[in-house]
Symmetry: D2
Subunit: 314 residues, 4 copies
């Protein structure tokens, strides 16, 4: 609480500082600048800086001297065109910087997106906070039987309770022992003056990957959309998807035209394989195609029918 | 002329637009935002956007909630430390976007810096401007005899005049023929209604690499400094070095502390090889080392003595 | 001729050297290793090294100790799955290195693919060869009237002849003057002992962008496929597409399973936008949709109908 | 044991397969190809593929048709020149692929090197092995008092014993509970048929970061050397430095000339700051400089004297 308060004070102070700028400025993003957007039980994202707006995409595409055109409809048309035809370089001309608090196992997935700048809190240099991700009851999912890297039904009764108990107890114990090894408590007080304390860079190895870490993460709009296309996708693990969803909301505030184009041409819709396209053509020509006559495996047929909204045929 | 005027009008208009922002803002950079900084005979750089300031480096290094510390001396100390110890990630947290006009042969060197975002004027889509780089008289250098990729003395008299004449005449003729093949003049008027005109993406192949192109180029501070360390260096070709020098001036306005640290720990100073370090140690111990006793080749010995300011010994 | 002969001798010599290796080896690629594959009038690609095979993708996906599985059908299934679901990292585990000779204006498009390693012949250090791309008669296309960055019909009669004449004469003259400024001929002989010669790094600025350059270009399989998806596409300029086509042939020899998956799931097929998908669903449900009821612009409707093979409806 | 045996069998089988190749081949690297090189208590590196040799650097620098020159001395001279003058692109033309087994906290440092290809064992898809890094007694270091991210003396007696006990017990318990939550043992057997089992992607969050993971890691020579320059450095944490040291040994086998140049011009030697260089010049001119007259902070003065081997003066 006290820590949350001092954190909020710092945020309020930095939000109170304003300046006049000639740069492209987005009022809807300024409104939420620096503010905590909660994700999971202890995590968050917050926007700490940004560069550019929808106009900046247009301006870069035209390599122009002024801003974009004055007519929104023309700008929207160009942005849609660029997105549809994969002219990605103008989207790289906008940049956003987030401060993110996230569990280490989520950070390990996230960091695989290499075209970004990252500065992470150092557990070699500093003592980690005592904060662990414990899933909400409705996220205590069983292993999926159909998909080796997916979730099935939510665990019930005793099994759910036992899992929660283990996660909580092991997190607490691991952190207690971390403090003991460090010979230092989270608040910086020394436990036993007679001991030396195990090096921070070593003691941290006792901590489980549901502990929260923090980083500054900065990327350009093109790579942000690539991140979202993979991580706001239904195949992504829930614990990273909620971060992507929160960032998608930020994108809508920041660049409404680019966000629309992204949802229309990248996130929405479907990619048909060469065979899938042939099947659609046959069906449009009136042929009754089923899996056996499709040339597709059962799995691919099911996926195709699902994407065409014909799950009854899968 | 008229074009320069309309360009200036666009720049003045965009400079006149201001907004209030909560973002880090640098007054010295706002002063020159969007303005043309001339380079070479027809080229320029101009800053079209930026993200972050010296504080933002500190803030990222600390993964903090507010801005950096309030004391400049502490911030400078941290920035120097980060630079000295090659902790590069906090410097990646600032970003700058330039609009650059530059000869194609300079663009071809520049583009080799891959960690940047680029959107170039398209000669497939548009007609190129009739602007060519013609070196100033004092840059009409002879081939160096010592260094295969360097320049020697300035050409004299007839040889200089002849080179200038050839460069000018060939540029003019190439552009005349470009227009003729396009069947279209620079101003967009059709030359001969009875002809079709050669495709733009093909006709441009007649243009020499001293023609000017334009692009938006955006990079983070770490990669900007890497660019400057190679291109503001005396081994870089003069025609790209002048761009790097102009960007170095921008850096000093934008981030005075980071610029100082960069000049102190990266641009200035010298790198000693393992053998070079041993020689310095022997000399400091009072030994009179010469090339034959140094174990270095004549060339490396010369380079070492030059970097130690002892060129009399080379 | 003589130069071509000495080049062929060097290639024959290096092809004659063989060694025993424990590495994954692809016989079909060894067959053509180092050999010139002609592209355009003076250009080529040739494979100078490679790492990995189809098995290596499987091996990396499984992080296994041995090679992939022994059954081709299983490997193909896994490779198709990875491609379909955009699991791209295993494809990054194979690498290929090309030596490419190409016109400078093609090199300028090509270099925009940043995730590759490049070492180019240096016109600062060396004298360029007298070789220029002159399009074949059937490539002398007029500007497209429908697409600003496209080609229309082939130029006819006098206009075609005049374009060819200009390209040839200007190339020849530019090179003659390049030699004159250098005071050195292509074969290295000095023209006039009484002159100094203009620096190489400057004299090259007189050369048009249809001159040929050369580079070593190395990339991983994932990024090669990304390159091919954009450059073997019908929207790419013909002069780069022919290089991509030649590399696609190499890919089929090198990694037949990955090449199949790439053609099935990436190159072939079609991407439907969110609206496009809705229209397909309505059509499959038996509704007669036309442009006015589609909600699409005329252009997008035309593109959608074309991709569905229903151009009569566009 | 049994697992180690089956692993060795797989390795022996793949080592027994040989083929004839026209590619550059390095006998000293073929000798150790695929073999386990142990690092830490359960980790390893092993080379699973490579592309190129010292000749390939020369060949790329010259953009040549054949291999490098036949004279080793000339090749060494060129390689030294390239390294000294930071001409890095020819070094990017060689590639190496490692299979690495490493603790998760080491993997988290390692992955910050973005210019590499990585495919990691998936804890969403598979069950992790029961293998944890437990430091050897001589690595049980206390926190450094001088350097917040460094180690001090080795812990003694009871404190060391207690740390070892905690690390071992917590690892064991965390894995026991991981199995219990999964309802599945390491060997794949189900624990209780009446339970569903917690999803793998969730249960793994209980595991501490000293658990071992595995990945395939591939990079080019230039980026490998960059990795080594930071991670084989004395400031790097011991647990990643031992991996870098093992890779440095591999580099010496693979490319002896490049490895020599790297040690001479990058790893060895010292970088002097602008002020540091001035001080060396003054000392070489016979002036007795001490910290107070140096203009350096106490810390920088100490670092400079240490690098000049004059620690008595610090």
């Amino acid at each position: 609480m006290t820590e949350d308060k001092s954190r909020q004070t710092e945020i309020d102070e930095v939000r109170a500082l304003t300046a006049t700028t000639r740069r492209a400025t987005v009022a809807a993003l300024e409104d939420i600048l620096y503010q905590i957007i909660p994700v999971l039980d202890h995590g968050f994202i917050r926007v700490v800086d940004y560069m550019g707006d929808d106009d900046a995409v247009v301006q870069a595409a035209r390599v122009s001297y002024g801003r974009g055109t004055k007519q929104v409809s023309q700008d929207a048309g160009l942005i849609n065109y660029l997105m549809r035809h994969r002219h990605t370089t103008p989207f790289e001309m906008c940049e956003i910087k987030f401060h993110v608090k996230l569990p280490v196992f989520v950070a390990r997935q996230w960091i695989r997106h290499r075209t970004a700048n990252v500065n992470e809190y150092s557990a070699r240099y500093s003592v980690m906070d005592r904060e662990f991700y414990i899933p909400a009851t409705e996220q205590l999912a069983a292993q999926s039987s159909a998909n080796r890297q997916g979730r099935g039904d939510v665990l019930k009764g005793d099994e759910a309770a036992r899992v929660l108990q283990l996660l909580k107890e092991d997190s607490t114990r691991a952190y207690d022992h971390y403090e003991e090894m460090l010979n230092e408590r989270e608040d910086g007080t020394v436990i036993d003056e007679g001991r030396q304390g195990f090096a921070r860079e070593l003691a941290r190895m006792n901590l489980p990957v549901n502990i929260y870490t923090q980083w500054y993460w900065k990327t350009d709009l093109h790579n942000l959309m690539h991140f979202l296309s993979l991580r706001a996708d239904s195949h992504a693990q829930y614990e990273i998807r909620v971060y992507a969803d929160a960032m998608m909301d930020v994108l809508r505030k920041w660049m409404p035209l680019a966000a629309d184009a992204f949802e229309q041409y990248r996130m929405g819709g479907a990619h048909l394989s060469a065979k899938g396209l042939e099947i659609v053509k046959r069906m449009l020509a009136g042929e009754a195609v089923d899996q056996s006559s499709s040339g597709l495996s059962a799995r691919e047929w099911r996926e195709l029918m699902a994407s065409l909204g014909r799950s009854e045929e899968s």
